[in-house]
């Protein structure tokens, strides 16, 4: 049984940034491994939004990554980027492009900090302007609304039963 480590915390440190933080009940070498290993990424990256269909990770500076997901609604979304800095178990800097919005390239810095066997993962997303940053957050908004609709549908179905 997984120990609940709370929800993700999202803050907006500046007009062009998003900071996502979460603590995990695991040492950082495991969090790092789950974050960078394709077979493991496939199991968590889509969350409740769909199914991950393809993950490529060439984990070296200058190497590229690409994740593809089929969303619950049936459409496909893909993200890709390039690794700029890699410090094993500690820090990864990479670019990130949502292929539906190719002009909005962000730079993501993921840091893994361990304390007493628990690991805090922080992902700082740096966009080049506020419009791209806002569009990035709006993508979550749409997913959130979709989840709300799904929840509503479940409730409606359970009422009918």
């Amino acid at each position: 049984m997984a120990v609940s480590s709370g929800t993700a915390v999202v803050t907006l440190p500046s007009d062009t940034q998003i900071l996502i933080t979460r603590e995990f009940d695991a040492p950082r070498h495991l969090v790092y491994k789950a974050y960078t290993t394709p077979e493991l990424i496939k199991r968590w990256w889509s969350g409740d939004r769909g199914v991950v269909t393809s993950v490529d990770v060439d984990l070296r500076v200058g190497g590229t990554w690409r994740y593809v997901m089929t969303a619950n609604e049936g459409f496909e979304v893909a993200f890709h980027g390039e690794f700029r800095e890699i410090i094993t178990d500690d820090r990864i800097v990479s670019t990130e492009v949502f292929e539906g919005m190719p002009d909005a390239q962000a730079v993501d810095t993921a840091t893994f900090v361990e304390n007493a066997g628990r690991t805090t993962l922080s992902i700082l997303v740096q966009h080049t302007n506020r419009e791209h940053r806002d569009a990035h957050i709006n993508s979550g908004m749409e997913a959130g609304l979709q989840e709300a609709m799904d929840d509503l549908e479940e409730v409606a179905v359970s009422l009918r039963a």
Binding site: A2, I20, F24, W44, S46, I137, M141, A143
Partner: protein
């Protein structure tokens, strides 16, 4: 989300770093403008200009206290921003809940001695 003039909504009002700084200072308690000038290290006309924007969207309220005017923060207009970010936060929470499950399995594997290559 549609945006308009600086004074139209809280999104624009808090887009300016100095105005966020004013809110941070006021979050600790109400203050007269001189305290804000000192805390921010800005000229008073500039601080007053930022306060006008914050008051226009309802993020800051002013009241007369004796001979001076003190300013206090009102968080309510921030709720739409909070809600906007919340949906994004929720989708990351779902990802991380799945990551928790993966990590529990990895920990169990490692404890059994199969985790290290």
């Amino acid at each position: 989300m549609a945006r308009a003039a600086t004074t139209a909504d809280a999104f624009n009002a808090v887009a300016e770093p100095r105005r966020r700084q004013i809110l941070e200072v006021l979050a600790a308690g109400e203050r007269p403008v001189n305290d804000l000038v000192a805390a921010l290290g800005l000229a008073q006309p500039l601080v007053s200009k930022h306060l006008r924007v914050l008051r226009a969207v309802g993020l800051v309220r002013a009241r007369e206290a004796g001979r001076q005017r003190v300013y206090e923060v009102n968080g309510e207009p921030l709720k739409p921003i909070h809600d906007w970010v919340k949906a994004f936060e929720k989708s990351w929470s779902h990802r991380f809940e799945r990551l928790d499950v993966v990590l529990e399995e990895m920990k169990a594997m490692e404890e059994r001695g199969h985790g290290s290559e």
